[in-house]
Symmetry: C2
Subunit: 337 residues, 2 copies
């Protein structure tokens, strides 16, 4: 045997304290119990070293007191995107306050998708927070079929409309910071756009276009796949090649902006002297850079806690109106533009 001794159960407590299981249960969950019975049971609990079996409780109660945090793009998430960590911590804090356990599940491959789907359907969690969902992800289908209480952070346009979301106004924020760049006197403004297969990428580009209006020039948009540093370097090189007279850049993320700074340094351009650069996220990148980035602050922690609230409210039985909410994104103006 690998386990030396069976774990103690309510039966063991009952036997040790000389009462019935029912009374033990009442001590644990509240109810009418005499002072002496309570004392005897509590003594017995510490004596036998009882820990409740959540699997049994979950089975009976149909409640596990746990909520899944499903990260659908682990590589970029953990390695490049500093937001995801803050979103997790925000969600964890909110769930913790409501006495729920957050369990985060990482989906890397198709194999993972299937296993996570099984896990979600298996009664181990009462709800799910989904970040970085792509259009038509199989996990989403599973969630809506199970009618599992859920919430998204961000929202691909054709997402299941019955599931609420919390996000930011990517288009509006992009438009606002581009406008500020324009107001600073920049004339030839380019953008390094990324992740155009996701709502965030699409909307940031749309906001950029809207701000420039008739001055918009498709030549001045570099399209890169990811929100990371390396993409920023490449994107900026492409922009410099396309328009040597460029004097402003809106990068779709801070990591990209940091890469752009590198490419500009390599090309001998000064920032903000020759070129003004602005980013998006207000992540740790923003203050690490030289010069520090002007950027759009993304309330990552709050996104996490709001998503958690959306799930918790459903668990309390509230029926939420479909749709979502957008959190404000103040512009943080530093030195890079």
């Amino acid at each position: 045997m690998s386990r030396p001794h069976r774990r103690a159960t309510v039966h063991d407590i009952a036997a040790a304290a000389g009462v019935s299981r029912g009374t033990v249960s009442r001590v644990l969950n509240g109810g009418y119990v005499s002072a002496e019975a309570r004392a005897a049971i509590e003594a017995a609990i510490t004596e036998v070293g009882y820990v409740p079996n959540n699997a049994a409780r979950a089975l009976k109660m149909r409640r596990s007191q746990a909520v899944a945090f499903v990260a659908l793009e682990p590589h970029s998430l953990f390695l490049d995107d500093p937001n995801i960590g803050s979103i997790m911590l925000g969600a964890n804090a909110a769930l913790s306050l409501a006495d729920h356990q957050m369990v985060s599940l990482v989906v890397e491959s198709a194999r993972d998708t299937e296993r996570v789907a099984r896990y979600l359907s298996g009664g181990f969690v009462d709800g799910a927070i989904v970040v970085s969902a792509r259009t038509r992800d199989p996990i989403i289908k599973v969630i809506s079929e199970l009618a599992l209480p859920a919430a998204f952070v961000g929202h691909p346009p054709d997402l299941d409309q019955s599931i609420p979301f919390v996000g930011i106004d990517n288009a509006g924020s992009a438009q606002a910071i581009t406008a500020r760049l324009l107001a600073g006197g920049r004339r030839r403004i380019g953008m390094i756009a990324a992740a155009l297969d996701r709502d965030s990428g699409i909307d940031r580009l749309a906001g950029f276009k809207a701000a420039l209006g008739t001055a918009y020039d498709a030549e001045l948009v570099a399209d890169v796949p990811h929100y990371d540093y390396g993409s920023g370097v490449k994107g900026m090189r492409a922009l410099l090649a396309a328009e040597p007279a460029i004097d402003g850049v809106f990068a779709a993320s801070d990591a990209i902006a940091a890469g752009a700074l590198e490419a500009l340094r390599e090309a001998g351009r000064s920032v903000p002297g020759d070129v003004g650069v602005v980013g998006f996220d207000d992540s740790t990148w923003a203050v690490r850079c030289q010069p520090q980035l002007s950027t759009v602050h993304q309330p990552a922690k709050q996104l996490g806690s709001c998503a958690a609230q959306l799930v918790l409210r459903q668990l309390r039985g509230e029926v939420l109106e479909p749709g979502g909410q957008l959190l404000p994104t103040p512009i943080v103006w530093r030195e890079s533009a």
Copy 2:
């Protein structure tokens, strides 16, 4: 009612297919079943939309097919330390291959500690991988009392000896890279030491001392609390103040080294011309810096998968010899020294 319809169970399948629960169970888990019964049951499964209830299975089997990944220091972990993400992905991949689910639990506060302890003891997981454990963490006590199969990544010196670990030779690696710095002709070498309340911090400092031997000068060690960028900036400033003629620095992490580069730039020193800088981790920081960092490569992904293997082997019933294993840490020589 929040749930419109009860979830389908084996009973429902049995009723729909006109067989007994036992036969359904045999279809699901293997056994003697006639072809026609199997076909009828499989049809019934898709018809009623059956998903197995893992909570019930876990209760009966005393196996949840899930392993916890417990992160004890979320703030520094997710925001500053890029290793943790890779460790997670490595563990996830290994567990996934063995058809186990990884659930990661974040411990932020004392409140979290208690809740996570309950979760671990509750039968939702079969084992645990613990990263960034500090001496005397209450979670460790819980794990060893439960005799929960576990493994550590890293190992505080006074840790429970019965729990295996996987780590790196911090002292040896630190000694090796410091020696290389010496071999490059540097004379006045300092160190920015961090996290001296943890094994990793202590051992890296010890390795540094060992490499310098009699040339070691306690004046040339700046002691900072965390492995982050800001600490690097402050630590380097302190070293420059203590010894303006400093010509080499071993930073206890890449993030610290990046901060040190910043402080050196601010002080007008060239790298590697005036001062050679080396880091530790070979994280994404190393290649982002200007100049790119010479550093110690830490096999983060492999650490995660090894820890997962240690847990999986215990779950298979193997009895592991106590102690741990250390993974090799090649030195990566780039431009900063």
